[in-house]
Symmetry: D4
Subunit: 226 residues, 8 copies
């Protein structure tokens, strides 16, 4: 096992070895933390690591307070993401495709996190399967990607269609939009797992972050291997 280091704040134990093990400092999950706690964690991570520092699911007011105390970062409002010291893009082509306008915040999180950790991100929006030509128009773009993140609520059928069009990794993100039988994203999650397109993988509902991190693992392992 790689050597590991833990930094003990009173309210959190930072896993400083993570950058060495996984090529990226620990990412901070914002909800439930005060601006002051976020600032202190981000500060420590900036000090003891060299890569990008990210805080997810942060609202506007919190972001403003944190950036007041710890300037130099950027806030992506739609993605609710705080970033300091973003990574340089190194050429891994990730396409984030979403099915409807309600899926945009999740797609934005996926795109912003992926860009912050160094992927080259292209986004394609409002590509629902009820109008297939919208998918087919971008088929070549999708087929030229190193990986595709598919963000879709409702029945999540876009994951199957894209999964059948491309040979590269497909990471599906179910979204909690829709009503009734959508069951707050559970239907899309189950449907994506039952997909008839082989080898599609799935992350948690609304987890644009998880999809971006899965893409980061692809890029990181690819770089290491090359």
């Amino acid at each position: 096992m790689h050597p590991t280091r833990v930094h003990d704040l009173e309210f959190a134990q930072l896993d400083l070895g993570r950058e060495q093990r996984q090529g990226l400092p620990e990412v901070v999950y914002g909800p439930g933390k005060t601006p002051e706690q976020i600032r202190r964690i981000a500060d420590e991570l900036l000090r003891h690591n060299t890569g990008p520092v990210l805080v997810t699911r942060v609202d506007d007011a919190t972001a403003a307070k944190v950036l007041d105390e710890l300037p130099g970062g950027d806030y992506h409002a739609l993605a609710r993401l705080l970033v300091w010291r973003p990574a340089e893009t190194d050429g891994f082509e990730l396409t984030v495709v979403s099915a409807g306008t309600s899926d945009l915040p999740v797609a934005a999180e996926a795109a912003a996190v992926a860009a912050a950790v160094g992927l080259a991100v292209t986004t394609v929006q409002d590509v629902g399967v009820a109008g297939l030509q919208r998918v087919l128009r971008v088929a070549e773009l999708l087929q030229a990607s190193d990986a595709v993140v598919v963000v879709a609520g409702m029945e999540g059928a876009l994951a199957s269609v894209v999964g059948g069009l491309v040979g590269c990794p497909v990471i599906a993100v179910p979204v909690s939009t829709g009503y009734g039988a959508s069951l707050e994203g559970v239907t899309a999650l189950l449907a994506m797992h039952a997909s008839c397109a082989a080898g599609v993988t799935v992350v948690n509902i609304d987890s644009g972050f998880g999809a971006a991190m899965a893409a980061h693992r692809l890029a990181w392992a690819g770089r290491r291997r090359a």
Copy 2:
């Protein structure tokens, strides 16, 4: 309300007014009935109605016993359907499209019931969305239909794709094939309801019969209106 007549067998009360109200004699649900009970019900229906008489979900052995006593009917093995006095086809074009080979028994039930009640049925098989060109190849056929029944298990995405291609009524049948996250058809049922294609309707899991009857309602009302 139309006049109604009830015929009371010891173990069943036959709704003889249904043919007048709905254009079709009561259809018999086979499971849980003995061959003798089926024979007696079919016999009464043949006697007191003029239209086709159907018994659904009948296994081979039961069918053979019933037909021994009440000849003149046909048994469709894959569809598990017994039919006496099928209706003449009157020109309503129904296409039954299914996603994979596991969906064939349900598609067969839909097609056999629909044909027995007088629809002109075309079937298209193994049209999964993971290979879109298989759907696109039959787009014109689908678009020329008076109604389409979509039979699909797993994630049920075919219903959304077909729903977006055609303007006519689309009746989706979730199928209990697949494993794990397919949850015995519940995932497909929910996904079909959450479909992004507007106006797709859904019937019960594995109910090829229900889809055919929904199509019969379309044809019956259309004929009456014409």
Copy 3:
């Protein structure tokens, strides 16, 4: 496949071929869109299509803002629907029947959308099966319809009762009213699928819109066939 055209707004890709394929321009789902986005989409649809333009699930304030910028439309408050350029009624008789006063908003959406796309709509309210005579009083009206939309929460039994009374297509809409065992409409959805009345079809919970679109498919295909 019919020729397809896609119009690319920055935040949405309009499926302009839909009117030709399905007899109706794309309908806009309001939630998650700004008034300005709604206005721009509606404007484009009015420009590039010839049929009615609808925006669903719009609240009063948003509707007022949109109509300020793009006059000529009507807002149906109970149905939360914006309509420009409604279709002429062409004689397809749709009856929308609802079970209780809590089901009225969903029934209103079904009725308003159906009317906007050219159906002749009659509504019947508060017809619960606990007082059967209320259903029986309107049996002839139901039986004379070209299609019936049944809107019901709680146990959704009205769909079975109506399904048994009429021979025409029955589209059931489960409603998320009720409490406890109603499970926010899931119980009604499941019960309507398990209905003992053959050929009843079901749309998503609270989707008056989906029911109206299903009825539009019936009318459109009927017109085409005639």
Copy 4:
């Protein structure tokens, strides 16, 4: 509290005070017990109580073995019920109404248990709401009953319809027949609870026994009060 007596067999503790507290000896649940255990329990109950002794959910082979050793009882095959020393009927009129032929075994258990504990039972079969006239034909019988047990699978709508027709107690029994969205009786159970007919009560899925015991409580309390 009434005085209580417990009789301790090696494998069971008999609640001999129950007859005094509730007007009926403990009823034996058959599954998981050997014929010899059933015989010994029944023997003790016959010895130490004066009322009817019942064993539920017993298959044919077990029943035969038990009756060989402990004659004098009757076995109701469809109801899977063993009865010794049935009670005299005392005039409480119970009607057991069922929706379809698949519901018959559960209805048979309700009827057989109720008769064994002294109720005057009338059964009405195959009264589905898809043919309302079948219910209406028996409305007067139902309205003249002291209580009604409604046995129904699928969507369970019969409970609402009967609940609206009669003023007496209605005990609904969901049945695990049907397929797909019936969810093995869970849909009927939920739908019966969400019923729009006020004051309908529900017992466990397939529990004809439970319904009969609920009716026994009604009759017992009524007798005590009179």
Copy 5:
């Protein structure tokens, strides 16, 4: 079938025959109705029936507005119930027992509705099975009742314990109190159905009203029989 009469308000169809069929005018479900609608319905019911008129689930403000326009009624705040012309008590002894202080609003609804329709109601509070002596202290009261309503959230075990103590009808009301595994009352509902005490019946979650109406059916049928 008893003669039926329907009174058609614009927004509701009153089932005026219900009093004759079931011994009680239709009860009005408050949610989703305006004060003016409630007033008009109550007014009609008072005019065309002779028994008590009830409106359930009404908040304080609505109740005040309605009573301003239609005086002579009483508002029970904890029960959220409006009553005009309550019935005379005729001697049917109903005990409403609840498990904890969180169950009080539901127990209050059961008690207030039952009293309004003429039952003699006794309430016993905070009788949790974790302190059995609290149940045992009231065993004689329970055993002397004509029926018992058990109101309990969490695991609902009180229904089984009371069901074992008394021979009279037991109507269990699951309550949506508790957190986590209580699943908003679903756990209590299921547990009450799985109860080892035979013949316990269950109504919908939080439905004090349903329990009271079930008790009314008992009393009404008992009176009719006597």
Copy 6:
């Protein structure tokens, strides 16, 4: 961390350090293993540890084959347990109480495993809460125990009742007996978690083994502390 040792068989990696860490060798889960695999694992565990060696969920035929090759062990048929080298009893008093005869196999597993690891086990059977006196008769025994395992299916109410009677640890085991609303033990599991008796803990459905191991942890920590 205590030193750890892993023994690598081709098909399994034995955690030989577990006896030192937890006072008990690794217990073998039988299902899915061949008799030969079980024999080899048990042999290794006997060789490299000093405590009791247990294999759970073993059927008769497998047990016979294993004991042929590796004599010296005992097979408890009802508990489906194989034991070699059982521990000496050291005075920790565990009472295993079960609610009905269907719960006996699970209770037997709990008792047999607990005895094999050195606890002094008393079993009490058929103590359902529908006959409270059966619980109250054994209250003193329960109150004198060092810990109580409560085994109950259906609604699991016995856990709450026992939890309120005793001050010692109560470990509840939900059982998958019952039908319908019992949901194969899920209802009992949820109900036990929602229990109104504070400090009751729960293990997995049907896991007599888990309850015995939880009791072993109590006894082991108590011994260590003494």
Copy 7:
């Protein structure tokens, strides 16, 4: 059974015998009670018992009002706990370990309640299994404890890891943090039950209180036995 005493307030029946039976006065569940009710109950408990008096789930405003009227108690804001007359610590070493910062309120409740009833509590925070070294760093502390409470949301894996490291009792508390597939704690609850670490027990979602009470049972029974 120990002698029992019940004190009857108008709105609550206090189980005064509980201190004698279980070594601790009844603990008051705050939600749904007015400050005045809480004060009166606490006052009675302080008067008639000798041990610590606790009220759980109390918000700041309520706590302030109660303490104004009944001084001498302490309010733990994060734990939402009111305590009067805390017990002396007697040496039982409990470690409360939590997985992330979102789990802190539940961990705080467990720690505060345990301390109030006399346990010696150590807390360890932010020990997620995604950085194993954080667990391994505290392995010796955990292994030296008399019992461990594991508080974890999301997938709850920490319970399995800790369960494998220590031999003492492990009480797992699932937490309702996380989103999507976390299903408000249900996933963690199920996962903890399915844990591969034998003998881990589980309490209700978010029930730091339940875990502390389970630990109190351990300590109380241990003391009694010593």
Copy 8:
């Protein structure tokens, strides 16, 4: 879009363009197909493609029949996989790690499929988190892999632990082993999605095939990019 070719057998439409789009011929899902259908499909795929041909979920008897008619393939019994013309290994290092012996069939499918499509596969078995040292022993192997497939039932915690140890892609496969709260793999699926280890992706329950195909996508895209 790449040119696509469809080959139409009577019972299946082969997607011959898939090899060009995705680097692998269509894989055949065995269940529901006759040996003759499998043989004909495999034959066509061998003829019209150049890569490996696989049939999954095939039992022994079917495999034998197919190989009789179409020799040259291999059958992997534990994996239930038929393979003709396996691909050459090209250096992508995949490690398949499983948690217990019950997970072996799923792990075997993942490994056999991955090997057949050209990955270099290493398998590690019986690495449960209840004995952490078993994971830590193989940490370096895992960290040196290009991707890791984690196969685990029960609570699925191994995915989180491995996800935290390695930086490369982690594909988690929930397994339907375990009982009770395992809910046939649904608990593991949900827990893996809720994992605290960022960027872990999940495939369907028991889908060793899906995991291998996801790994194939990684390798294929990596090769293309290199």
